[in-house]
Structures are given as structure tokens and as C-alpha cells.
């Protein structure tokens, strides 16, 4: 298949989620896995070479075309309000879930020191977190964890990719323009650590 690279590019372009090699192979049946892999590598290299507005990222176990992070401030101006405007409280709660998952509400509230019911519901609605089940303790509380969408939005390959607390601390001293988002994360983690 000579067009394979172009077809894959068109897939990456329209797909709503990151695309795994398996998913691509399930459509391009004649293609070998390594052919697909090579096409993806070639595309990624092309995007790197031309240094345009987008790049190929390996996210959540698959591949996805993403805009280059250096343009995010501009992009925010374009898409503004409806995007991921999370309040500081919501971001803190999300950070706790990300690092402590699977986690129950009382643990989250213990760390934050406030009621989180509304925020937990909102995070669920936005599909940033999900309920894994119930913990078999009195009251059978819900167990929360993050979703694939969480990984995608925060541009993480998998949960292993979450910055360690030390890395976050290092970040803090280094880049001031990142501060708004990360600062609140750091605060959260500091709190989490101290408890």
C-alpha cells in the first residue's frame, strides 16, 4: 500500500481520540504492523522537520496530532471560554485524584480540608475522572480515578508520566509563565505531602 502514510495521516486528522496501531491495523488490514509503525514514525519526523503548527504525540497508548505547545497561549485566545477552564479547587481535586488514585472522597476531602462533592461531580461530568467501584468499607464509598481523557488533556502518555513531586518542585523555581496552572498543582501536592 503506497498511500498508507497519507491514509494514516487522514485518520490522525479526523480521529477524536488517539489512535493505536491496532486500531489502524483493524482498518488497513493488508498493512503490516511495522509498516504502520514506520508510517507513523515518518509522519512524526516530517512534522518535526517542518516545525509547523502541529506535531505527532504518543498519548494514552496511541498517536494523536496535537498543536505545538509553544502556540498554546495563542490557541487559548482562539478557543477561550469553553475549553478546560478548571477552577483552582477543581484542579487541586483532580491532582489529588491523579496522584492518589484509586481514592475515595473522604481521603480527598481530608487532604483538601473542604467538602468536594460538587467538584467531584463536575470532574465526572467532564469525564476527567471516573468511578472505579465501591470500597468495601462501611458506607461503601465510591472509588475515583482519572480517565483516558485526563491523560490526553494533560498530554500524558500514561499515569507513570505524571511528574513526580520532586519534578514539580523543580518546575516551580524554573518557569514563571507556567506558574498559574502548575502553581496550584504544586500547592496541592505540598498539602498532600504534609498530611
Amino acid at each position: 500500500m503506497e498511500d498508507i502514510k497519507n491514509i494514516i495521516e487522514s485518520f490522525l486528522f479526523v480521529a477524536e481520540e488517539s489512535l493505536t496501531i491496532d486500531r489502524i491495523k483493524s482498518i488497513l488490514k493488508q498493512a503490516e504492523r511495522n509498516e504502520i509503525q514506520n508510517a507513523l514514525i515518518e509522519l512524526s519526523e516530517e512534522y518535526e522537520a517542518r516545525k509547523g503548527g502541529f506535531l505527532l504525540r504518543e498519548v494514552a497508548g496511541g498517536y494523536q496530532i496535537r498543536t505545538r505547545p509553544e502556540y498554546r497561549e495563542w490557541i487559548k485566545l482562539l478557543i477561550q471560554p469553553k475549553s478546560l477552564r478548571l477552577s483552582k479547587a477543581a484542579l487541586e481535586t483532580l491532582a489529588i485524584i491523579a496522584y492518589k488514585q484509586p481514592v475515595i472522597r473522604s481521603d480527598i476531602e481530608y487532604i483538601r480540608g473542604v467538602d468536594c462533592g460538587g467538584i467531584l461531580r463536575m470532574l465526572l461530568e467532564r469525564k476527567l475522572t471516573r468511578v472505579l467501584g465501591r470500597k468495601e468499607i462501611p458506607g461503601r464509598p465510591l472509588i475515583y480515578a482519572t480517565t483516558k481523557q485526563f491523560l490526553e488533556i494533560f498530554d500524558l502518555k500514561d499515569l507513570k508520566d505524571l511528574p513526580t513531586l520532586e519534578e514539580i518542585e523543580a518546575l516551580e523555581s524554573e518557569s514563571p509563565e507556567n506558574s498559574t496552572r502548575e502553581a496550584s498543582m504544586i500547592e496541592t501536592f505540598e498539602k498532600g505531602k504534609n498530611t
Binding site: S10, F13, V14, E17, K127, A145, K148, Q149
Partner: protein
Amino acid sequence: MGETIYKVHIEDIYEGPMDLLLHLIKKYEIDIYDIPIALITEQYLEYIELMKSMNIDFAGDFIVMASTLVQIKSRMLLPALEEENDDEDPRLQIVKPLEEYLRMKSAAEQLTERNLLWEDTFVRNPGQEDHLINGEDEIIKVGLFELIDAFQKILKNISPDSRVDITADSISVKDRIAQIVDVFEASGSITFDELFSKDSDKGEIVVTFLAILEMVKLSLVRVVQNLRSGVIRLFYL
């Protein structure tokens, strides 16, 4: 033979009277700017009759067109009666709409020949609203407590009554780690439950568990849980 039970709707065959007219014009290879109105009217009425006899249901629009045709025909036969419209061909009454209709039909066809969005060409769909979460293969890193929970389940399954005797270690933790590493080297990963399947007594189960804990501590393995199946799997790093 009884009454035919089929009721065909004319819309299944012709869009409307204009389509029928066009069909007749095509069939007789007629120039629309010089329509033999008598022939067309006759043919049109014949089709209407035929449709009626075949019990085809058709809209009143067909009758309206029929009367228009009849009217034109009669005006063609009596040319000099209307002083003011002297030089206007009565057929224009039908030619103009036909022209227009044909133009629109061909325009509609040209539109479909374009590269239609969602048919021939696609755009990115970054909207998150209808984003389906798809967590089938989501895995999470498992912490110490989850491991202990899982361990307790295994203990329950194996021996419902007797207590675990921590002191009984016929095989050392170190040896067990070596054995587990052998398994990993053969298969790359193994589920938590599989690790215990070969152990017969509680002592061995405990040793296996301590071995796993030690390996986690040494970062020899990564323990993950599939969120959907709940299966805990260990990967050798």
C-alpha cells in the same frame, strides 16, 4: 380478479407533474422551446388515466398541471382571441417553469458532485461533548494497599479456616524472587493471581507475597491494574 390491493404513491415514481412532463419531453425527444402541445397534453392525460387505473395515488398537483396543459392547448387553437397577448406564445406558460425546473435540477446535481463534507471530505472534530470515554484498557499503577487487598482475597480463597503462619518459610523470600524473575523472563508479565496458583500452603503464599513486595520496593516490577477487569498484572522492568 378482485381489486388490486397495492396502492402505489406517485412520489415513488415521479417527484411531481414537472417530472412527468420532463419524462414525456425526453421520451419524444421534444425541444422544450417548441413543444407540440397537443401531443404532450394527450400523453400527459393518458398517463394520468393510466395511473388512476393502476390505483396509483397522486397529488392534486398533477391535475392542476393537466388543466394548465389543456388550457394552453385550447389557446393555441384560438390564437387571435386575446388581443393583448397577441405575440406571446401560450406555451411560455409551461416553458418558463420547465426551464427553471431543469436549471434547478442540474444545479442540484452539480451540488452533489462537489466534495461533500462528511461524505467525501472530513474535518477535525475536536468537540469534547460527544467524546465517548473508552476505558477498556485503562490501567493504573497499583499501590501497596491494593496489593494487600488482592492478597487477602487470595488467602480467603485458599484456606477459609486456618490462620497464616508467618514463621513457616520453608523457602526463603530471596529464592522466591529468583523463581519469579525466571517466570518473568519467560513471559514478560504475569497476573497477580497466577503467581499464587502454584503455591500449595499458606506459608508459601506468604513468601510469594513478601517476594512481590520486595520486588516492588526494589523497582523490579511495575504493578498495574486493568480498570475494567480488575485484574492486577505485574510487569518485569
